[in-house]
């Protein structure tokens, strides 16, 4: 039973080649995960600009997750290696600013890992729901 009635809002950026396909596979296998997770397709996890993540938080997202191919499996060879560095630094910075570190996550999900995709989203949604509303990166104007 979820005590908190409020539904968290989660934005998931999925790379076209692995994770978006993984999400499709989760669908094919009817593996359910919360509807709070909304997927945005990007060609590669390295397409995700930190600005997109902050923007999502500004607009009221409670959690942002990036999914890409496993390191070494990037369709574009090296994209996810750059993602890994960028997000390591960005997440560390957000943590430094006192933003709850559980609100951001990077997960490597291959096209074959439908089950992992669903499990990841279930877990992330639960974690984010437990944190409650994102108050530290919100823009009050969007809250009304």
């Amino acid at each position: 039973m979820q005590v908190n009635e409020r539904k968290p809002l989660i934005v998931a950026f999925c790379c076209n080649w692995c994770s978006y396909a993984g999400a499709d596979l989760a669908g094919n296998n009817r593996l359910s995960y919360p509807a709070d997770v909304k997927i945005i397709k990007v060609p590669c996890s390295c397409r995700v600009n930190p600005m997109f993540i902050l923007r999502a938080f500004q607009r009221g997202a409670d959690g942002v997750i990036l999914c890409g191919c496993h390191p070494g499996d990037c369709h574009y060879t090296s994209g996810n290696y750059y993602t890994r560095r960028r997000m390591a630094l960005l997440f560390s910075m957000l943590d430094y600013l006192g933003i709850e570190k559980e609100r951001t996550r990077v997960e490597w999900v291959s096209a074959a890992e439908g089950a992992k995709f669903a499990a990841t989203m279930n877990d992330f949604a639960q974690t984010v729901a437990a944190l409650g509303e994102n108050k530290r990166l919100e823009d009050l104007r969007c809250k009304k």
Partner: protein, 664 residues
């Protein structure tokens, strides 16, 4: 301002079962830019597509949003529909309300709510879409086949037959692969050499085919239609063009104690060698690890006996660069190592062998000249135990075996058992199996013949352990149907080792940027609809590099891959992916960050003149993207601080519009 049409698909009940499609199309009607919204049972059907085409015409639509299944399924379909209706195909966006909505959510309310939001995001994106036109690139009309086994041979022959030049790169000194090592082939029992070697000769004689044997691919650059490949021809210390393959050197070579890999180490070869009699190319190769001349400069016999003067101890590795339009991967398989299976005493007894070794033992060209003799004492074995699924279907420990079924073992074991009983009726043959899997034309009949006509003992159960005692192998096994534990004194134990992709496949996949599954088998672009293509454009899959398969299946896939290659190579020009990066020169500050992260070298810099205030001119260094080389990953867009670099089709503004729509 766009004029957007929204089309919500029911997908029968697949979507409509969990999503109120009517509510979705109603809700999206009110989104900015939307002038038309409808829903229909099957948008992908002809009628559905016609509905889109009609709506485009009637409502002067400039953009289309289809709320349906995954874009991976039907994005291409709807883009074509848009093109038919006279729209730019990139004015279409798909909201995935099936795989990512109706199929994963249970109740109507949740599903509908989410579908509306996904629809809104797609509308928000289309509002910012711009027509994109794909660039064209010429196609290099030459194919590369990596691997010279039966898969590679068949693919190369078929491509060459269609009139295109093909190069085969094979790491071994000869083509032929695993099939060359086999004795007979199931289910017809014709001899492998008899059907393979003529094809090898065809390859050698085909004017369109070049063979790079004893070679490997070291670098792959470029993209579909325009691959730049570097092939390393390893030094074989024999001039291929001169060597006649007479074998005089092989005969005279004093170093004769080199384990013969062709016979899986069951006999020896010389340091200079030709792997087998029908090798193609039939050229000698010096094994530098064992040749005394190369190791310490003392010998030189082969050079003296070579009438053609083909021996060249100073030969160096040679790097060949070639352009290709398409690449076929046919890297094949190997049996897995039996080292971890202590219970079968593979490392303790020479008489525990793998099935491939058994092939060599029964092969007329093998170490025993085709007589079935056990390796330890060369005596005729009277009791033979075959163990199935050694390392296959093994989910418990990844370091030991493989989770998948190796597919070919049931059939070749039946073949081995049958042939043994046929040639040596005095031999008792036991086959321990978990299941006997024989789907395939004439396969089950074949297996039943082994049991019914040849009297092979098929026992449902597994061998638990094998241990040598005296000159016997004690086999302890279960007979599940009789609920018994069996103890058999065997002379020979044959293990049906699981097969795994060749070790060279992983680094090759990285070079090709082709994806692999967790077992290192190449992934196909679509498991059903595009089984011979890799998701990486221009890379095709042939044979067991994609998954376990037998010879007939390999050959059909090889031909299928060839057909795909041919249909690519007949094109003079390829339409590229229009979703590529592009740099706004006015904003670019020339910092080179994008150039450094581009995996394709698609970004270069040039000095460009700019008109500045008051009629002055400034020269600035700015980035330029080669749209034919760019693959559209977008890595450069994030390192560009000014946002000068953006990705067409996935522009910053578009993605942010999606974020905004979702976070409303």
């Amino acid at each position: 301002m766009q004029r957007i049409g929204v089309f919500v698909c029911w997908c029968g009940s697949n979507i409509a079962g969990t999503v109120d499609v009517q509510a979705v199309s109603e809700a999206l009607k009110n989104e900015p830019g939307v002038v038309f919204s409808a829903n229909y049972q099957y948008m992908c059907s002809q009628a559905g597509q016609n509905m889109i085409i009609d709506a485009v015409k009637e409502h002067n639509l400039t953009g289309i949003v289809v709320c349906s299944c995954s874009p991976r399924m039907h994005e291409a379909t709807f883009r074509k529909t848009a093109a038919t209706a006279g729209l730019n195909p990139y004015m279409v966006e798909i909201a995935n309300i099936r795989e990512q909505c109706s199929w994963v959510h249970k109740d109507m309310l949740t599903g509908t709510e989410k579908a509306i939001i996904l629809g809104k995001a797609a509308v928000a994106k289309v509002n910012l879409n711009t027509p994109l036109v794909a660039g064209e690139t010429p196609v290099t009309k030459r194919a590369l086949v990596i691997g010279g086994g039966i898969a590679g041979i068949q693919t190369a022959l078929d491509i060459a037959e269609a009139g295109f030049p093909v190069d085969i790169v094979e790491t071994k000194p000869t083509i032929g692969g695993k099939m060359a090592q086999l004795d007979k082939t199931f289910p017809t029992l014709d001899c492998a050499a008899c059907i393979l070697t003529p094809k090898m000769v065809d390859v050698a004689q085909n004017e369109n085919i070049r063979i790079f044997s004893y070679s490997e691919v070291t670098e792959v650059k470029g993209f579909v239609g325009n691959f730049d490949v570097t092939v390393k021809k390893k030094a074989r210390y024999v001039n291929e063009d001169i060597c006649t393959g007479c074998g005089a050197c092989v005969e005279k070579c004093p170093m004769k104690k080199v384990p013969n890999e062709f016979n899986l180490g069951m006999d020896n070869r010389s340091a200079i060698y030709i792997p087998f009699a029908q090798a193609v190319p039939k050229v000698a190769t010096i094994d530098p690890n064992h040749c005394n001349m190369l190791k310490n400069g003392r010998c030189g016999v082969c050079s003296k006996v070579c009438a053609a003067g083909a021996i060249d101890y100073k030969q160096q590795d040679e790097y060949i660069q070639e352009k290709y339009g398409a690449i076929v991967v046919a890297t094949g398989f190997n049996p897995i190592s039996m080292d971890k299976f202590d219970e079968y005493a593979y490392n303790q007894s020479k008489d525990v062998i793998t099935s491939l070794e058994f092939e060599r033992l029964t092969n007329a060209a093998g170490p025993t000249a085709g007589k079935l003799l056990r390796p330890s004492d060369l005596k005729h074995p009277h009791t033979i135990v075959f163990v199935q699924c050694v390392g296959s279907r093994c989910a418990s420990c990844a370091e030991k075996g493989k989770e998948y079924c190796s597919k070919i073992c049931c059939m070749y074991t039946a073949k081995h058992a049958m042939l043994t009983r046929d040639k040596y009726p005095d031999t008792e043959v036991y086959v321990f199996y978990i299941d006997v899997r024989t789907p395939g034309k004439s396969f089950d009949e074949f297996y039943r013949r082994a049991v019914e006509e040849y009297g092979v003992h098929y026992i449902k159960g597994m061998v638990g352990k094998v241990f040598p005692e005296g000159d016997k192998l004690k086999v302890q096994a279960s007979d599940l149907l009789n609920n018994k534990q069996l103890h058999i004194d065997a002379d020979l134990v044959v293990l049906a080792a699981a097969i795994e992709p060749d070790k060279s496949a992983r680094p090759l996949a990285t070079m090709l940027t082709a994806s692999m599954d967790t077992n290192d088998f190449f992934t196909e672009a679509h498991p059903k609809l595009r089984p011979v293509e890799s998701p990486t454009a221009g890379v095709f899959l042939s044979g067991t590099c994609q998954g376990p398969k037998d010879i007939p299946e390999t050959v059909s896939q090889a031909s299928a891959a060839a057909a795909k290659v041919v249909s690519l190579l007949v094109k003079d020009k390829l339409k590229g992916n229009p979703c590529v990066a592009s740099s706004d020169e006015l904003m670019c500050n020339g910092c080179s960050s994008c150039e450094r992260v581009c995996p394709y070298g698609a970004i270069t810099y040039e000095d460009k003149e700019f008109r500045m205030p008051n009629r002055t001119v400034a020269i600035r260094r700015v980035a330029k993207v080669n749209p034919a080389v760019c693959q559209g990953c977008g890595c450069c867009t994030v390192v560009c601080p000014s946002g000068a670099m953006d990705l067409r089709g996935f522009a910053n503004r578009q993605i942010i519009a999606e974020v905004d729509a979702i976070c409303k």
